[in-house]
């Protein structure tokens, strides 16, 4: 039997005799399995509820009676964000971003009703998810298992006899690494369970594999860090103290500090603030409700000339509809410009946080995990962009009906009496401009792209630490 294998199996034998190791493992497994099951149930219920709400909203819209098309522009529509299948593993931003958005003409609204606003509040760590259990607590378990691996052999003088037998320091370390990695692999088995459930919700298998690989690399980084402390420090309790301190710094302190730095260095104006600036721009566009607004003079002159007629009443289409359509388009350009600026500011803040991934593998793994699960900022922006596309399409679809199916004369006389009001309507079949909506997370390849920089950071951590460990392991002394 090779000495590496021998060292590894011996380590396992030691763990199996240790009550603390077995107890810690049992607690961890109970925790991760409970969390996974609860999260899976929650996501299933949420998905079901939101799909139902979406269907309900679509049905309500489509069954509206004949009406003036602009009434339907203001009647508006709702979109509901269904959670990504892997949100049951890593809910990411899913819980703290709005689930519903109201779409209407002339406005972009914010997504409303986040889960976190209504939940009982116990602070950030109480949003326990399988991902968080792996990010924060699996390292503690690895420290528990690994802190004594070299230090214990040194304390009991086994190390000196091993070295005297001609087993090199590197081989001892390789054996211990193998044992700890196999343990890390075991810890990750419940992840496959979560992944399998996501697969049944049409999640591609590649993202589950990547997620598994990601967390394995992350736990491997902690394995290497723990072994390094165990190699360098003489006493077990010193190893434990240093590793616990390191965990405190990397897992609890640095991520939040990164957030402070990001929000302090990059300013991201909120929606109300940027809307106020935008309003000044909008003053110039004219009020789309008022076809006499001077802003539309040019449009009117062009149309009159094109059709060679004297007044807007003689145009072959409804001029009020043309104005509504034109102003919605110009308005949307401005709205999108400001929405993009807001998203870019948020991305800029996130990039500052992301840089701290070089200092803390916890941050790197968390970001990559959200990206792969499709619950990160990019995905939330994707929802906002999709919602805006739906909004613009249905509003312009209705405006199109306004232009071509409602005469100008009927339109301007709509408030005269009841008959005039009835004439100024279009058929309800026009409401079918609305397509059925299902929110889909961004494509897998895009998600992998979003995760890539964080994955590189994690790999850099692992490779550098591993190199140092084996370089130092060569000089292992009893």
């Amino acid at each position: 039997m090779s000495p590496i294998w021998l060292v590894a199996t011996d380590e396992w034998r030691f763990w199996l005799r240790s009550h603390i190791a077995i107890g810690g493992m049992a607690v961890f497994l109970v925790l991760i399995i409970t969390t996974s099951l609860l999260a899976a149930l929650r996501i299933e219920a949420e998905t079901y509820a939101r799909i139902n709400q979406q269907d309900e909203a679509e049905k309500t819209f489509l069954t509206q009676p004949d009406r003036h098309p602009h009434r339907m522009v203001h009647y508006g529509h709702y979109l509901f964000r269904t959670p990504a299948p892997l949100a049951q593993f890593d809910p990411g931003l899913d819980l703290i971003t709005g689930q519903a958005i109201f779409l209407e003409g002339h406005r972009q609204n914010t997504a409303m009703f986040a889960e976190s606003t209504a939940s009982a509040d116990f602070g950030g760590l109480s949003w326990l998810s399988p991902a968080l259990v792996y990010q924060l607590f699996a390292p503690l378990l690895i420290i528990l298992f690994g802190h004594g691996s070299i230090a214990r052999e040194r304390e009991t003088a086994v190390l000196s006899s091993l070295l005297a037998m001609g087993i090199t320091g590197r081989k001892v370390i390789a054996g211990k690494t193998l044992a700890l990695l196999s343990m890390a692999f075991l810890l990750l088995l419940p992840l496959i369970g979560s992944g399998a459930l996501a697969l049944s919700a049409s999640e591609p298998v590649s993202s589950v594999f990547l997620l598994f690989g990601l967390y394995f690399a992350y736990l491997a980084t902690w394995v290497v860090l723990t072994l390094m402390a165990s190699v360098v420090l003489k006493e077990r309790s010193a190893v434990l103290g240093v590793m616990a301190g390191l965990w405190l710094a990397l897992a609890l302190v640095l991520p939040s500090v990164a957030v402070n730095v990001a929000s302090n260095t990059v300013s991201a104006a909120g929606k109300i603030a940027s809307d106020l600036v935008m309003l000044a721009d909008l003053q110039e566009l004219g009020d789309g409700h008022n076809a006499k607004d001077p802003a539309f003079k040019r449009l009117r002159a062009d149309l009159l000339q094109e059709y060679g007629v004297e007044g807007v009443e003689d145009l072959p289409m409804n001029f009020r509809g043309v104005v509504a359509m034109e102003s919605e388009k110009k308005l949307t350009d401005v709205l999108n410009e400001y929405a993009d600026a807001r998203m870019h500011a948020e991305i800029a803040q996130e990039k500052v946080v992301a840089k701290f991934g070089w200092l803390s593998p916890v941050l790197a793994v968390a970001r990559a995990s959200r990206a792969i699960a499709g619950t990160d900022l990019a995905n939330y922006h994707h929802f906002q962009r999709m919602a805006e596309a739906v909004r613009f399409d249905f509003v312009q679809g209705l405006n199109h009906a306004h232009v071509h199916q409602l005469s100008y004369r009927d339109d301007i006389n709509r408030n005269r009496d009841e008959d005039a009001r009835l004439r100024a309507r279009v058929d309800a079949s026009n409401w079918r401009v609305l397509d059925a909506f299902r929110f889909q997370a961004v494509s897998v390849s895009e998600r992998f792209g979003n995760a890539s920089s964080a994955v590189y950071m994690l790999m850099a951590w692992l490779v550098i630490m591993l190199a140092i460990l084996f370089w130092r392991g060569d000089k292992l002394t009893p």
């Binding site: 603390i20 509901f80 116990f122 602070g123 106020l276």
Partner: protein, 422 residues
């Protein structure tokens, strides 16, 4: 051996421990940093509010200039409402990253507006700020554990344990003195920056004094826990693991379980239901006979019941009446939504007695007015203000008063922290 003598000896002994100095320096640095970032954030939020107050007024005045009727003036003018950070918010930003603290509202149905969320970057809210409350509630217990777990075990390894106990007379008070001296040093380095921050921010001394007391009690409790567990005759590593397990249990597992249980025990209506009902009511009004809408409106406002709507023509009285009826219809759901959230919060307050870190965090947030209660008060303030706008405009509509631009100066203005303002 007299107490001062023992104290002096312990101070001398501890001051020679470089690890203790390292931790104290770290705690001081982290505390100072959290306070500095907190102060900067409070200043940033105040600046934002000030800028928005100006921009809001400017925009509204520009709108007024274009209006020719009370109805359109009310339709086109937005009003900023806001909840400024309190003088202690620098220590606990709490819900300010997750809940909206600004709304720009107008005279339309309020339920369609009040659930808008103009909140900070969600990736910031997800990780959470490193504020003083987080440091004190979640990080400091771990620092105390790392400092105190091996007080006895270390002496045992150094072979001095039994000798020490034999010489000091009362071993328990000796170890207690050593533990409390170290914990006391941590406590002082922790709270000094927050007190200095309070002076910089001009916070009322009562607030940071009470906060300091709370933190003191918290540090004392953890010190006792470390002290008792470390008296266990076991290797230092076992003691540390036991203490960390306690931390994980009460900082993470109890809160996470309690959150799930409370959310399940207290169901609340979904937001979607409120929104959909509100929209249906408001939109159906266009097709309903006007008497129906007006009858519902007059239930709340009998004083205007002489008004006779004219079918077929557009009238602002009727328009704003159906906006209000939209709010009336959703009132029950909306109240249930609010009450449910309050009940959840109320239960969370009780359960957090079992989850000490959450208890301290919630305590500091309530001092800083950044807890859920403060946000409900703000929401009440917005509702009160919206009602005041209605009180201002309704007489103008229903008495058919001629539009007078100058009278708009009498519009009530929003005053923060004053629910049901006038």
């Amino acid at each position: 051996m007299s107490i001062p003598g023992a104290l002096r000896r312990e101070v001398r002994f501890s001051s020679r421990d470089p690890v203790l100095w390292l931790w104290l320096a770290l705690v001081l640095g982290l505390s100072a940093m959290s306070v500095a970032f907190g102060l900067a954030e409070v200043e940033r939020q105040n600046e934002t509010i000030q800028k928005l107050i100006d921009g809001d007024r400017h925009d509204r005045l520009a709108q007024y200039d274009k209006q020719e009727s009370w109805g359109s003036a009310a339709y086109y003018s937005f009003h900023l409402t806001y909840d400024p950070p309190s003088d202690f918010a620098y220590a606990a930003m709490g819900q300010r990253d997750a809940q909206p603290w600004m709304h720009r509202i107008r005279m339309l149905a309020l339920e369609g507006q009040i659930h808008e969320r103009d909140v900070a970057n969600p990736s910031i809210a997800l990780i959470g700020r490193f504020d003083f409350a987080f440091l004190a509630a979640f990080v400091i217990p771990l620092v105390l554990i790392l400092l105190l777990y091996d007080l006895r075990a270390r002496e045992r390894i150094a072979g001095r344990h039994d000798w020490l106990e034999a010489t000091v007379g009362q071993p328990t008070s000796f170890w207690l003195l050593r533990a409390s001296l170290r914990a006391g040093a941590v406590f002082v380095t922790l709270v000094v920056p927050v007190i200095i921050g309070g002076m910089v921010a001009g916070a009322s001394p009562a607030k940071w004094f009470v906060a300091t007391l709370g933190v003191f009690a918290y540090v004392a409790l953890w010190t006792m826990a470390c002290f008792f567990v470390s008296s266990w005759r076991r290797p230092g590593s076992v003691i540390m693991l036991a203490l960390i397990a306690i931390w994980v249990a009460i900082a993470v597992i109890v809160p996470a379980g309690a959150r799930l249980a409370i959310d399940r025990l207290v169901p609340i209506p979904t937001g979607a239901d409120i929104l959909l009902l509100q929209r249906e009511t408001v939109n159906d009004a266009w097709d309903l006979p006007r008497e129906v809408t007006m009858a519902a409106f007059f239930e709340r406002h009998p004083e205007w019941s002489e008004y006779q709507p004219v079918e077929g023509s557009f009238e602002w009285q009727w328009y704003y009446a159906f906006q209000q009826v939209g709010d009336q219809r959703t009132e029950q759901l909306s109240t249930a939504y609010r009450d449910g959230r309050l009940r959840r919060d109320h239960m969370a307050a009780w359960v957090s007695i079992l989850a000490l870190p959450s208890l301290l965090e919630r305590f500091l947030q309530s001092l800083a007015d950044t807890d859920l209660r403060a946000f409900f008060e703000y929401e009440e303030g917005v509702r009160g203000y919206h009602a005041a706008l209605r009180d201002f405009y309704y007489p103008k509509f229903f008495r058919n008063e001629a539009f007078d631009r100058t009278l708009l100066e009498d519009l009530p203005s929003f005053k923060p922290g004053n629910p049901g303002m006038g």
